[in-house]
């Protein structure tokens, strides 16, 4: 069987679709796990998106906790003889999968952007070297565990008439010396860059925090979301980390990405390379960002941004 799990239900639906396609090739079936929060409605939808069976693992835990969740999945995998396990590559999924792999003595590959059969073997692809190359990897044994980032695979068509088994079960877990004390939501200006269709993004070319208003003016005209590169969020903390686009920040694929004063470090490119159209504004003509851009303006963003805001306002008006 193929087991699918994600703590993000949307990603679980995507995996149900991918799991189904893979199950047809491997001549097997898909079992989906819902832990703790699983409602009957979500279970039914998992079946409609591709799962053959859903197990709702009931737990008293209030929130995701990796040690116990791993134990639950280990048991579900054993009970259902799962040789392929797909896990959503959320922050929780990324720390769950390798722990589960250790317990199941399994190979695992995280953050896969593709899964297919080649020469009869399950083959996966993932970005390596800060997004500069793609490693093609194959499993030499089972079980095999693959994590898949959200939105890697399209949401499959939903078959609303499809029925399947929904089982509710309790699983014993080990007891661990760790304990979640508190969950704090991050500061109020939180944004979701991953959902944005236009992003105006800034980097080190910005001289001071107040100058973000230049981006905000352009963003207002474009109805865009503000993003940034690593230094702005991680080092200078001018914007919260939910604005951070890059390998260790958010990965985005908007229709339009405007990079202002961003040099184009490979780690940043890895986060935005799938954008439809990329615009770069940088005063250094040699900045690597121009190699990754469709349109480039060599110039000081302090002069270019106000002029561009006006020009775009004009074309939108007409």
């Amino acid at each position: 069987m193929i087991l699918i799990y994600s703590d993000s239900i949307k990603t679980a639906y995507e995996l149900a679709g991918k799991g189904k396609a893979l199950a047809q090739e491997l001549n097997t079936q898909v079992v989906a796990a819902l832990i703790g929060t699983g409602s009957d409605k979500e279970a039914e939808e998992l079946i409609q998106y591709g799962a053959d069976k859903v197990i709702i693992a009931e737990t008293t835990l209030q929130t995701f906790k990796v040690e116990e969740y791993t134990d639950i999945l280990e048991k579900i995998a054993a009970e259902n003889s799962c040789d392929t396990i797909l896990i959503g590559s959320t922050k929780n999924g990324k720390e769950l999968a390798p722990r589960l792999a250790a317990k199941l003595n399994a190979g695992s590959v995280t953050d896969c952007t593709n899964i297919y059969l080649k020469d009869g073997k399950v083959t996966v692809e993932r970005f390596v070297f800060s997004g500069n190359a793609v490693a093609v990897q194959q499993f030499a044994s089972t079980p095999r565990i693959v994590t898949v980032p959200p939105k890697t695979f399209d949401l499959p068509a939903r078959d609303t008439g499809k029925k399947g088994d929904i089982l509710k079960k309790k699983y014993d877990t080990g007891t661990y010396g760790s304990n979640i004390v508190k969950v704090q939501e991050m500061s109020s200006d939180s944004v979701n860059v991953e959902e944005a269709s236009i992003i105006v993004s800034c980097g080190r070319g910005l001289k001071k925090k107040e100058d973000i208003k230049l981006l905000e003016e352009l963003a207002a005209v474009l109805k865009a979301t503000i993003g940034c590169s690593r230094p702005i969020a991680a080092d200078l903390k001018w914007l919260s980390v939910d604005h951070w686009i890059g390998l260790s920040g958010h990965k985005v694929k908007p229709k339009l990405y405007v990079a202002c004063g961003i040099s184009g470090q490979i780690q940043h490119i890895a986060g935005m390379r799938d954008s439809n159209v990329i615009v770069a504004i940088n005063k250094d003509p040699e900045a690597p960002i121009f190699k990754s851009a469709d349109y480039g303006i060599v110039g000081d963003l302090y002069a270019v941004l106000p002029a561009l805001t006006n020009a775009i306002r004009e074309v939108i008006k007409s």
Binding site: V66, E95, E125, S130, A133, R144, G177, L256, A293, E314
Partner: protein, 253 residues
């Protein structure tokens, strides 16, 4: 108390060049360094040792030349190091098994620190795998570690939220790059580190018989970036107008 830090001898990604014809990375001759997030783990280990006393032991799986770079971690303040010579082929299962065997060989382990992920592969598998193999708690993405009597309290960076988790010992903790700024050792410390021991071990000496990987890399492909690369030229008014018109044609807004 023994504080273990797992450090990777990784490809320095910023030195990678791309072959313009094949778009593949040229890996030959690219220098290798200790992965930068692992240096943050060593820095954090030093702070924890100030509180708990005991010693810091670095564990690396790598080729013999890793030793030279491991010395920089001893110079930062780690007490001793173990280098497990890497088998011909490895995957995370193999590496984690070797690290675990080396960690057990240290006698006792209370806190095992790792970087969140390595700079070259960025998989983030090692910390959770070690915790799973030892069946002990894991606290990943640590952005702040507060040592208390008999336990640590950790702020975990989960992107949209901070999860505060505490754990008794032993525990595996993976740190983010933002947790601290690793110190640069002084010349005196660098010279003194030459006397600190680095034990070299093989898989068989650690009793790890089977080192066959479960995942094999069959190809490293390039990433073609198909972009128009149009640099707009002219006065400020011209270029911004041209850009606005081009974007209209692309119907992005």
């Amino acid at each position: 108390m023994n504080i273990i830090v797992c450090a990777k001898f990784a490809i320095n990604v910023s030195e990678i060049k791309i072959d313009p014809a094949t778009k593949k990375p040229i890996l030959q001759g690219v220098p290798k360094e200790i992965s930068d997030i692992d240096k943050s783990a060593v820095e954090e280990a030093i702070k924890l040792r100030d509180k708990y006393k005991g010693k810091i032991i670095i564990v690396t799986v790598g080729p013999p030349e890793s030793k030279e770079k491991m010395k920089s971690l001893l110079a930062m303040g780690a007490d001793e190091a173990m280098l497990v010579l890497q088998p011909e082929k490895e995957d995370y299962h193999v590496t984690a098994s070797l690290l675990c065997a080396a960690i057990k060989k240290t006698g006792s382990y209370d806190i095992i620190l790792c970087g969140e992920a390595s700079i070259d592969q960025f998989s983030g598998q090692i910390a959770p795998r070690i915790a799973g193999m030892l069946n002990i708690p894991q606290i990943t993405y640590a952005q702040k570690i507060t040592p208390e009597a008999g336990k640590v309290v950790v702020d975990r960076n989960m992107g949209d939220k901070v999860v505060i988790t505490e754990s008794t010992f032993p525990v595996v903790i993976s740190v983010t790059k933002e947790i601290n700024k690793p110190r640069f050792p002084t010349l005196m410390q660098i010279m003194a580190s030459a006397k600190k021991p680095i034990q070299e071990l093989t898989a068989s000496a650690l009793g790890v018989g089977d080192t066959s990987p479960k995942v094999e890399t069959i190809e490293i492909k390039g990433v073609p970036m198909e972009r128009k690369n149009i640099i707009l030229e002219g006065s400020l008014e011209d270029v911004t107008k041209k850009l606005a018109e081009s974007l209209t044609k692309e119907s992005v807004f």
